[in-house]
Subunit: 462 residues, 2 copies
Amino acid sequence: MTDAAPALDPAPPGGPVVDDEVVGNVEALVEGGERGMVLNLVADLRAADQATLLRHLPLGAAREVFAWMPGEARSLVLPELEGAERGGLLDGLSTDALVALIDPLDTDDQADVLADIELDQVEKVLVLLEDALDVEALLSYGDDTAGGLMGTEFVAVPASATVAEATEAVREKAATVDPVFVVYALDGAGRLVGVVPLKRLLLARADALVADVAEPDPIAVEPDLDQEEVARVMERYDLVALPVVSAGGRLVGRITVDDVLDVVREEAEEDIQRAVGITGEEELSSSVFAVSRGRLVWLLLGLCGAYVSGLVIVGFEEALQVAPVLALFIPIVMAMAGNAGIQSSAIAVQGLASGDLWSSDLARRLGKELAVALLNGVVLALALALIVVVSGFGEDPARLALTSGLALLVVIVLSTLIGATVPLGLSRVGIDPALAMGPFITVSNDILGLTIFFAVATLLYL
Amino acid sequence: MTDAAPALDPAPPGGPVVDDEVVGNVEALVEGGERGMVLNLVADLRAADQATLLRHLPLGAAREVFAWMPGEARSLVLPELEGAERGGLLDGLSTDALVALIDPLDTDDQADVLADIELDQVEKVLVLLEDALDVEALLSYGDDTAGGLMGTEFVAVPASATVAEATEAVREKAATVDPVFVVYALDGAGRLVGVVPLKRLLLARADALVADVAEPDPIAVEPDLDQEEVARVMERYDLVALPVVSAGGRLVGRITVDDVLDVVREEAEEDIQRAVGITGEEELSSSVFAVSRGRLVWLLLGLCGAYVSGLVIVGFEEALQVAPVLALFIPIVMAMAGNAGIQSSAIAVQGLASGDLWSSDLARRLGKELAVALLNGVVLALALALIVVVSGFGEDPARLALTSGLALLVVIVLSTLIGATVPLGLSRVGIDPALAMGPFITVSNDILGLTIFFAVATLLYL
């Protein structure tokens, strides 16, 4: 035997294995009723890749493939799907079929799947689940809280137990708790007092006490903590599992890092969506009406805001009649006021989201933004003045260049400072600062920018 | 003894412990030269919280506290800081001091810290490091690749080894590899053939073969894979550690999930920054000039774009002279074209970033966006028409309402479709689609929107 491990092959480093071509092939096979070939193909995929396949198949074909898949694979693919996709696949299944699908999952995933099936089914399915009580408790927590993220699968032993007993506890729970990163040490009242990483358990003597090998002062959170804060705690302390304890300190669940990875991406996506004026949480699988509604709120508010901007322009109608060339600057002022404001607000929102920027940093922040705004304002003002002079617009290009450049400088400085201030102000009063970043800043800066521009132009140019 | 574990206390569930007040107190203590009190306070903090403290102190005070801290704590706090902050603290330290600080870190952190010290110091420090060869190899990989993320700390054994031998390997590496999640199984040529989670190692018989307890077909990536793709792989398969293998399949490093959490946040922040027209990577600690430069590129391009929009308006000067009320609609058209486009582009960019949207989904995507755009366009057109009629603007409000509503509908539909198409197109030719999301879409939609509006208005209203 020359090879050390004949049963194992070197890993092919790989990205996704499901692409357009695979999806097209499976679709054709499903249409042809080639159940065996489809199942062979699906069996070679990991659960996450099966989910990718189902996601990109037309719903009819996806339901067919899902129906063909063996029970365990059907269960495992569910947590990998988005809510609306899960709903589509599970729609119309019997209570018994749902129970069989959901029971093998971790309790946190069970709760998530239950949230996507028809309401009258939820009650019926819930009572039949093995961990009904745990899952019901999990469903009582807010979706976006530590309680909503945690599962009740963990290994815990009294701090007075031996390492051998702790190892035995891992063995007993091995089938239901996967992965196991740590064993939690509890005091007599069930309160969390220490954490034993598996490495320590592996290396300690069998008769050593858990209390002696445990890391003291474990980091833990309460169930009602917001998921964004949960993510920050796990990020800050580089944790792969975070215990959740009741107000009394009793261990009630644990959050694993894979769920937090999803949270970080989700929250970042939410911030971008807020920034572009999408309310709710638009997903690729959201319905046309849900998408429309989510985008329309801010579009309508934006319409009203832009109408006010329009009134500002109409208010300076006389100036425009005297010097029609001023209309040239309307889009310039709007673009610059909007952009400068959204840039500084984006940085403030990011700093607040990562926890690195505190609302008490306002003064320091404004000082820096003022310096940046003055620098950029001067450059942009000179560029605009140059454009005006070169184009030779207006009756007195030099004066028009001076006027428009000066107005632009003022607009840039004010817009930048407003962009930097509003998120910090909102955060201080407890409103999501990401709300400020997009349409709100853009609209208010448009109105302000146009007013300033026409006021300066009326004063200096007419 | 009534309490099971007298040495351990229940965990106080906690968020951050460093806030304004703590920072203020430490600053005052540093000014008073109260070294002992500062050190007591700092000793109670975890490394990540010490970093928060240093970050929020004025640089002078931060350098003083850092100089006072004991050697090990100084090392541990370094990976928790941002590049510019690290540079500020390490500036002016001797080669020996730097070596002492950097040597205890994981190799990936050593490489990161080296990137932030003065160039003439790097060479001198590098040769004196214990793991000089490993670190030098890591420095050769691109910052944003798997190689740039990985460390060379891992536990690997031949697949032919026994579980007892693997456990012994964990023990030998216990001091340098922390945390240990898995033991890697290698074939005779050093190629990765399996992964043994610690749980399996803990539960298996001591004389079992690693080849028999290892999970086969491990997921691995090559060193030159982009970090965004690395994050997607770890997210998709819920991994806490990802092995990195050379083209030949040899194990060369591992990436831990905490680094990937940072990547996900970083990439999301980068996408937002691209979206608001910030090039480079602006951090809170970036210098005024770096910030200015990063924001100015797109502001200048935006200025040029807006100038073209202005030319469009000036081109319709006659129409504006005949019906000055048309100026009212300039901000409305610009706001709606920009917003609708940025909304649909944001969703496309997010779908591409998460890997859920493929560029081949274009047709399906456009169909849905068209439906949304028609729906929202009709609602917004009606709202605008209502506003015009109620306000009684123009000489023929009914016709103006019809004209402006119709023009708005066309603008919304086209802007939405452009927003949805451009990111997918850019992605197909290998350009970061986030670039499209912000200024680019806004500027092009402004120009297009204004042209369409004035063309329709000239045709139907004048």
